[in-house]
């Protein structure tokens, strides 16, 4: 892929979004248009992964102005990996939304497309302020999607979500101001190592990292996530879980590597905070009683794991963190979608109102359990490799406590996964409170039978795709490990990146 | 329309801002005096004033001119029959306010009507009944 074409990955979904706003198209066409840009991005990012697998990078100064003046778009292995995973998730979640009919809500298509454009831009940009803008591009559709789909609580959640994110975006912007005030520039290439040298820049970057930590829902600023994600529709939750917090995490990795140059002075803060995040998240999950709220708290816990990687800032730690990140995005979305299929079919995600689904939906059960075991870090799924490398990374870096917490937390993770499993898939089916499907009438129509709804196969496909992905990443871990190692190497030694940004 | 009436009309247009400035000045001084001196001579009232204005533009201009003059304020307006309800800070009597508004109206209509202005209703009254009230 020619590096000048990188901006097209942003422009393409935007123009399709514009088109969808503008015109009324037949359903099949608008659905195709909704899926097409992320499919294209998936293909393109596969090509990018191939091009960057040796640690080289693609960079392009948008509009071809001078270096340091133009907004640079850069793709290295890390961003290509993220592009690949996010576009896969957009594709799969949008497909799920289509399967459940979410896409018929007003402007669903344009909103998802803009969201994906924002994500893509945020992953590629090498400019702090442009990063802010793309984060906003990604957030605005999210504000709407969260508040327009889902349960009764969605409006309250919408309020929390928008205010919290606005606050953190504003804090981010303040950080950008401080960095610019101290360092003369917002170009990441020019900022390379600046925070390690200047305490003024470090303070500004600290503010930015703080904002990103809130956006990635690290403890103690995690509550908003637990409170908001469960109330929208499952497809949207899956989408958000795969994109929003993860872009923030990506940015933390990138910024800490480039601007702080991995400065070891502050790493201990990260180790403490992210260890707490692991613990608090998982305990929260154990205490919840609906599928999605459990999964959402897990997400917080796993965010702790992922960020621990950057807080270790060793080759192994970074590699483990990046591997974990990719694994988590896929598995989490898979879980949201498989439980989402249940929610859509049975009208609830409450553990005490579901049961015995494993027997009726064996495939669904298989998908769920595969992802659940992966999440808990059990072999042979991707989660195992992720946990193993991360724990090894933590021990290697001498962070015993964090390592032990990481290990212990996975037991609680399993515990809460089993809570879902026991409440939803095993156990007794609850008595239906009302006819769940139109009664089957026979002959004279005197007898009516309550038919329990069955999850439509089309709702299962997205989950199957993702579960298969986590299994293949687990079994063929070497490919992703290779890529993660390359990405980690680029974070440890940022000279190539800096050169690319300024080139 | 005669040349004379057109000249009067053009003069009317030119005169209007001058008159407005004058009215503004007088009104401001009066209200300013009220504000700056102790005690109060305020005797407000809401007065219904029938107008000779015909178009929306005229009514609107009229209402605005009244409002622009410190001490009086258009509270409500009606299109047909053209009427404004004016809040006046110094309302000695109903008719004084009406006369005051009609004076403004004269100046406005001189600017908006090349064909010349119709007589005031109170003057019409006199003509019909043959005597001044």
């Amino acid at each position: 892929m020619n590096s000048a074409l990188l901006p097209l990955l942003v422009a393409a979904p935007l123009s399709v979004a514009g088109l969808l706003i503008l015109t009324w198209l037949p359903l099949w066409l608008s659905r195709t248009l909704l899926l097409a840009p992320s499919a294209v991005t998936l293909v393109a990012s596969t090509a990018l992964l191939w091009q960057t697998r040796d640690g080289s990078m693609l960079s392009h100064n948008v509009a071809l102005w001078a270096e340091g003046v133009s907004i640079p778009f850069v793709v290295d292995t890390f961003s290509a990996l993220m592009l690949w995973t996010t576009s896969l998730l957009v594709l799969v979640c949008a497909a799920f939304a289509i399967a459940v009919g979410d896409d018929k809500a007003s402007y669903f298509g344009p909103l998802v497309l803009v969201l994906s454009a924002g994500v893509t831009g945020a992953l590629m940009t090498g400019d702090l302020f442009n990063l802010f803008v793309f984060i906003e591009v990604m957030l605005l559709p999210a504000y709407g999607l969260l508040a327009m789909l889902g349960s009764l609580r969605r409006l309250k959640s919408g309020r929390i979500y928008v205010t919290l994110n606005l606050l953190t975006s504003t804090i981010f912007l303040a950080g950008v101001a401080l960095v610019y005030g101290a360092a003369d520039t917002v170009n990441l290439g020019r900022l390379a190592g600046a925070a390690a040298e200047s305490p003024m820049v470090a303070t500004g970057m600290g503010v930015i990292i703080l904002a990103l930590s809130v956006k990635s829902a690290a403890v103690p600023v995690h509550g908003w996530l637990a409170r908001t994600y469960p109330s929208t529709s499952p497809a949207v939750t899956a989408l958000f879980s795969g994109l929003h917090t993860k872009v923030a995490i990506y940015a933390i990795y990138r910024l800490y590597a480039v601007v702080f140059d991995g400065d070891a002075t502050f790493l201990w803060i990260g180790v403490v905070v992210f260890s707490l995040t692991m613990l608090v998240g998982v305990l929260g999950a154990v205490g919840e009683d609906t599928t999605r709220s459990i999964l959402v708290f897990h997400m917080i816990s796993q965010i702790g794991y992922i960020l621990l990687g950057v807080a270790l800032f060793t080759e192994l730690g970074l590699m483990a963190g990046i591997f974990y990140l990719i694994h988590h995005m896929i598995v989490k979305a898979s879980l949201f979608l498989s439980t989402g299929a249940i929610e859509h079919t049975h009208g609830t995600g409450a553990l005490n109102r579901l049961g015995g689904i494993a027997k009726r939906e064996p495939l669904l059960a298989l998908i769920f359990m595969g992802a659940a075991l992966s999440l808990a870090g059990l072999p042979p799924f991707s989660g195992f490799v992720a946990k193993l490398t991360l724990v090894a990374g933590a021990f290697q870096a001498g962070e015993w406590v964090a390592a032990v917490i990481a290990v212990a937390v996975s037991l609680f993770t399993l515990m809460s996964m089993l809570k879902i499993w026991g409440g939803v898939f095993w156990g007794k089916e609850p008595e239906p409170r009302r006819p769940v499907e139109e009664p089957q009438t026979e002959g004279n129509g005197a007898t009516s039978v309550l038919v329990r709804p069955k999850v439509p196969t089309v709702m299962l496909i997205p989950g199957v795709v993702l579960a298969a992905t986590t299994l293949s990443i687990g079994l063929g871990a070497t490919v992703l490990l290779d890529l993660s190692a390359t990405a980690a190497a680029n974070l440890l030694d940022t000279s190539t990146y800096v050169e690319a940004v300024l080139g | 329309m005669t040349v004379k009436s057109v000249l009067i009309w053009i003069l009317g247009i030119l005169w209007l801002p001058v008159y407005l400035a004058y009215d503004l000045l007088v009104g401001s001084l009066r209200v300013g005096w009220e504000i700056l001196t102790p005690g109060s001579q305020i005797a407000p009232a809401f007065v219904e004033v029938p107008l000779r204005c015909r178009t929306d533009f005229e009514i609107s201009m009229m209402a605005n001119l009244v409002s622009l003059t410190p001490g009086s304020l258009t509270v409500a307006a009606r299109h047909d029959p053209a009427t404004v309800w004016v809040h006046a800070m110094y309302a000695e009597s109903h008719s004084s306010i009406i006369r005051y508004v009609h004076t403004i109206e004269d100046n406005l209509l001189r600017a908006t009507r090349p064909e010349g202005i119709p007589p005031r209703p109170e003057d019409l009254d006199r003509d019909e009944e043959g005597q001044r009230r």
Binding site: F129, V133, E136, L140, Y143, G144, A147, L155, K156, G158, R159, V162, T163, L166, L167, T170, L173, A174, V176, A177, L178, Y180, G181 | -
Partner: protein, 102 residues
């Protein structure tokens, strides 16, 4: 100094309002916070050169830093977008109350 004080004052008001009950006050707080941060961006550009960066009127040696101005312009519009959306949210549901009646 003066700009810093203004920023501090605005942030005080913003945070105070944001921590109140009721979405409208929170929104108003955010509007103020936006102002504060925009001023901070301006402050980051430096306040010692205050001439407009319009080269038809000012020479390039005295004009103020245009980059923060562009940032602020962008930030203002983004904040405006979110503000009107939040205002919409305040007019949905049952009320703009954000807390359970106590």
């Amino acid at each position: 100094m003066t700009l810093a004080i203004t920023i501090g004052v605005l942030v005080f008001g913003a945070v105070f309002l944001m921590l109140q009950r009721g979405l409208v006050r929170i929104i108003l707080g955010f509007v103020m916070l936006g102002h504060a941060v925009n001023l901070m961006l301006m402050s980051a550009g430096g306040t010692f050169r205050r001439a407009q960066p319009l080269l038809g009127y000012t020479s390039a040696d005295t004009a103020s830093d245009p980059l923060p101005q562009a940032f602020v312009l962008t930030a203002i519009v983004i904040a405006f977008s979110i503000t009107i959306y939040m205002l919409t949210l305040a007019a949905t549901g049952t009320d703009d109350d954000t807390e359970d009646a106590s």
